[in-house]
Symmetry: C2
Subunit: 320 residues, 2 copies
């Protein structure tokens, strides 16, 4: 059964939490919003295309979750508190069950972080979802990529590499596992990112893999990041499936992790660990910042060259 444009919009509207700072939400030419006095805004826009950012046929609730999660992850990397989302939904056919599933996955994550869906667009076209998200941050406290300094230490939240392994298992038709869930239902580190504002010197979220994204901090900061492979958080499950060496490569090459990679000064490390005791994810010190540029890797105290060409295809037995 297909829905009209009005019914699609209604399906989205009904899953949105209410917020007092939304003066006008869905239903006019634009949303009218009341920004909080004295705060700055952080603004992000990300698009997911079927077959590029998620496999064709992915369950609609997971697509809805992902569309908001990747944007929440960007806000987390800026240390911002999420507030308002706009959704543009491009659909070949507005199938009722698909739209309801999508709205359900989107709405559940929106409720968890108190994000109001205030507007957007519904258009005909190949399956594609764009979400714009606005958050708040205290002036001067936004986390950026350019503040890492030689002597800083490098941390990562959670378990990077698992999503890529999960995508590989998914594509190979392997039975459902925790790793596949990790790919399908990424958990943006929203609370952790906000806690890092004022503590981290630089931060980024891991969407393209640890090596690539840590390299972005290094480039923006004009410094070198050295990843110490022995300190990477390697899940026993990953090692059991793929062996230790390939697991470390997965963590470094990764992708779709939506963990936070950040730097801080040695002096702030105690404060950081105190804060992180309340987190629901692991926190691992994985390296250091030095003079120079780029990203280097060490293992057993010696330089080490990971196989960055490894991608999900290695985990699914090949084939794109």
């Amino acid at each position: 059964m297909t829905l009209s444009e009005a019914e699609v919009i209604e399906a989205i509207r009904t899953v949105s939490p209410a917020r007092a700072d939304v003066i006008r939400g869905i239903g006019d030419d634009g949303a009218v919003l009341e920004p909080p006095p004295g705060l700055q805004l952080v603004s992000v826009l990300d698009t997911l295309n079927e077959g590029v950012h998620f496999p064709a046929g992915t369950e609609p609730a997971a697509v809805g979750h992902r569309a908001l999660a990747v944007n929440l992850s960007d806000l987390a990397a800026m240390g911002a508190e999420p507030a308002w989302a706009e959704l543009s939904l491009s659909l070949p056919v507005p199938d009722r069950d698909w739209v309801r599933g999508f709205a359900g996955g989107l709405g559940e994550l929106a409720k968890r972080w108190h994000v109001a869906i205030v507007g957007g667009d519904t258009v005909e076209g190949p399956l594609s979802i764009s979400v714009h998200l606005t958050g708040f941050v205290h002036p001067g406290r936004a986390l950026t990529r350019d503040g890492a300094r030689p002597g800083d230490v490098v941390f990562v939240t959670g378990a990077p590499g698992e999503a890529m392994a999960g995508l590989g298992l998914l594509r190979s038709g392997a039975p459902g596992s925790r790793l596949i869930e990790r790919f399908l239902w990424p958990e943006p580190r929203v609370a952790e990112g906000q806690a890092l504002a004022g503590l981290a010197t630089a931060a980024i979220d891991l969407s393209d893999g640890l090596a690539t994204d840590a390299g972005r901090i290094a480039a923006a900061s004009g410094a070198r990041i050295v990843i110490e492979a022995d300190d990477l958080p390697v899940a026993p499950e990953l090692v059991g499936l793929f062996g230790e060496s390939m697991s470390i490569d997965a963590i470094i090459a990764g992708g779709d992790d939506y963990e936070l990679c950040f730097t801080t000064t040695p002096e702030r490390k105690a404060d950081l660990l105190a804060v992180a005791r309340h987190w629901r994810c692991a926190l691992s010190r994985i390296g250091r910042v030095e003079r120079g540029g780029g990203v280097g890797f060490e293992k057993g105290g010696r330089p080490f060259v990971p196989d960055l060409s490894r991608s999900w295809s290695h985990f699914s037995g090949g084939g794109a």
Copy 2:
């Protein structure tokens, strides 16, 4: 020649005007923005898909112009002053000439309205452009769709119907004309919309045609709108090409006009006309608001049923 993702982003970054309220623009996980104290925000997000919202092969500068224009038009319909844009660009192949042309068309319109392009996303996929735009409005002055009251008068800016006729000529391969330019280079009524804040009782921008969009004001306001066909602004050029009857249908069915349709009280009409003397587009009184619902049409003082099934295909000699 194809561009890397970094080169695409750089091509967009270089055409963006600078603004003092952009603390961090393109280049981090999100933009950091300083909202003006005491103002509300108006937020819009629109997506254009190739083959749906513009014909395949449309010159890239016109696509860039359009992607921002449709969002500027939404802000105009809210009476807001545009400020910050985010762009998500989905491209099958990042061809250098296409990207430069697109950025040129986008940037020229952005400069005209002092809109900074502060962030976004570049992804692989079918050609599709999403633009999010934020504007400012004084509290309580945003134009909405729900304020039309019986006794109000209905106005329209510029010349609706011309864009639809132009699209028809374009698809039929007719030689370039002013009407084709009207479709390819819509002129959002940004200054006019801002001037209407405080003057209009309800407003909408014409993207889906006068009948449909006036119907949205009627539905939101709980009133009936009567369009007086004799007062519609019919360009002699349109009549010369298609005859008077079909021209009136084009104005009513329309689409892609990006003119403003709005209502105001008879008492404010003099103020409105005084303000409109400075406008660069025509202003036409085209009807009235009554008790009831829906949209009606009159011609020579008698009810009239336009052919709303007319679309560009009628103007191009048929065929979708």
